[in-house]
Subunit: 439 residues, 2 copies
Amino acid sequence: MSSLLFLEIRAQLVEQQKCLEQQTEMRVQLLQDLQDFFRKKAEIETEYSRNLEKLAERFMAKTRSTKDHQQYKKDQNLLSPVNCWYLLLNQVRRESKDHATLSDIYLNNVIMRFMQISEDSTRMFKKSKEIAFQLHEDLMKVLNELYTVMKTYHMYHAESISAESKLKEAEKQEEKQIGRSGDPVFHIRLEERHQRRSSVKKIEKMKEKRQAKYSENKLKSIKARNEYLLTLEATNASVFKYYIHDLSDLIDCCDLGYHASLNRALRTYLSAEYNLETSRHEGLDIIENAVDNLEPRSDKQRFMEMYPAAFCPPMKFEFQSHMGDEVSAQQPVQAELMLRYQQLQSRLATLKIENEEVKKTTEATLQTIQDMVTIEDYDVSECFQHSRSTESVKSTVSETYLSKPSIAKRRANQQETEQFYFMVGPCKCYCFSFHLHDI
Amino acid sequence: MSSLLFLEIRAQLVEQQKCLEQQTEMRVQLLQDLQDFFRKKAEIETEYSRNLEKLAERFMAKTRSTKDHQQYKKDQNLLSPVNCWYLLLNQVRRESKDHATLSDIYLNNVIMRFMQISEDSTRMFKKSKEIAFQLHEDLMKVLNELYTVMKTYHMYHAESISAESKLKEAEKQEEKQIGRSGDPVFHIRLEERHQRRSSVKKIEKMKEKRQAKYSENKLKSIKARNEYLLTLEATNASVFKYYIHDLSDLIDCCDLGYHASLNRALRTYLSAEYNLETSRHEGLDIIENAVDNLEPRSDKQRFMEMYPAAFCPPMKFEFQSHMGDEVSAQQPVQAELMLRYQQLQSRLATLKIENEEVKKTTEATLQTIQDMVTIEDYDVSECFQHSRSTESVKSTVSETYLSKPSIAKRRANQQETEQFYFMVGPCKCYCFSFHLHDI
């Protein structure tokens, strides 16, 4: 039974090595996958970056020639939509650069780290294998020793037992002799008596010899048994120590630095991704700021400044007197003038009222249009909801821009309002001064 | 001079229409560029998304077969590095989905908006053109009227002047006649006297006629001048109103809704980008969390549980007694045992001390190694610094992973420490129980 346990243990030790080897192989494989993965992703990022760069270049080149851009070079003062457009192109460039950087970090940093971790794991495994070999050697030594001392004990014990039985036998014979010598003396012959005495002596001697042999063997067996007991304890202690401490140490040897290095490699990846994100975010904030500054008033101002010849008001018309005739109302027509003046006064009053009406309607309609064109329908966050099974994402996308019919309806509605606005609106506002002549 | 001003104004009105037309053309062009830009970017995003999907699929398929994955399916309990690896693949998938969504939003939402804004701008320009036409018509009417009334005034004034001079001449003749009739009467013939009287009467009549003509013309000219002055004021008012208000209204008509709609279109783009970013960030946080949980202890536990047969400790070795021999120390060897016991005691003491020494050294060395493998060298933020001229970015990248020599040095250093660790470390710790037998 003991020897069976030996074999079991020996088998286990071999098995343990196998497991550690397998673990290392799995790690090396994982690290290989990680390298391949990041190599491929680096390619993808590079291609993405190139495409973005091309895109930006294409439109940059297109705009560089334009009048606006010359303006842009002179003073940074651009029409607000054009400004947004330039920042949009800048953002694409920025993204292009960042993804190139990402790819670069994958190749020159992350992948290198995984390579080194792979080397380290293999080296660590070798080390631990050496140590394991030593440990197993020594453990086997202990086990063999246990086996030997046990056998020795059993042997000596057997010997002492057989010696004991021989001794017992001798004692029996002796008793027999003593029993015979108890017969009545008168009817025994003289020479017969002499014979018996010598045989008793012989038995005495044999018994002593066996007694000595027995005690010697007995002592040997006791010592062997004590040695066995001691070795037993020692062995159990060693086996316990190996399984509870050394084995764990062995695994630690294989692990030495593995998790920490992996951690750093992955953190490098994370650092790169987070920084790409931050940079991207900064860029978007710049655009958002420009979008906040989309402003019709200032653009109108710029537009009119761009063409001063077209928009500066002409001089006032002056009175062209005819050969030294100077202005001064004259008696004969004063009454008539007064009448005319009153007519104009009343006409003016009604026009003022009419204009007020028009103004009100116009402003109301304009407000309606303003509300229509400033409706906040641009939040698309629901398209980026990731349920655990991200399958559900695609579906929502089609609905991101309000369903086609509803747009059509909204646009029709808007244009209708426009129509009305133009009917009541600006066409009326200027009628004022002309009506002076309708009288 | 006045008529010159007419021509100037008429030219300006034409120029103004040209400017507005040009502005609209520039807007339509810009909106076309924006559409092309987003169409191309959508393509790029789609391609990027496809590549990422392929990448994830490739490695997912590879891992799906593995033992780990079966484990993963059963209980989510994975070795921490494998868990990181799976989350890395999930992240790529997530990015793939998000960029597909982005592309979708560009095509089905953003571009559509730009198309509509372009339509609107053109429509608005047409409207404002109609209005402008009306405005110009009326303005011209006013100007022509001014021109006419001025001419009328000049004509009537001229007539009244000539009438006045004729009147003056008549008066002179009359005075001449009165002067002649003052001569001494006695030496004039009778019939001569009669002749003079009739010519005086004739002059009287003519003077009256001219007097009437003159007052009539004078009145006409005064009325004409008043009309002229009034029209002058009205015209200046109209011109002023057109240049200060109507012109601005015309531009507003062209702008109606332009900035607001552009704002919404660009905000849709921003919303998509920001949401992509958020989703990406969530994914990275999940990975970071898994990286925080890279843990040797629990992995060791899992590893040993995976192979119970190899790692469970064997049974204790029991005392194998020999045919009914029971354990009990016997007199004859007691003294000897005592001696042996004392020897072991002292040996044990020294071993304990030795082990303490080894432990100290080992732990110190291990700590050194730990410090080496946990050095925080993974921050790559400086690679993503964008100076205004983002040209400086690329350069830093090469230095992201500490320069090659310094790595080599660090790694050599680390392996040296390892060597030492393995020399003093685990190989010694187990010597304890074996030395029992060296006595």
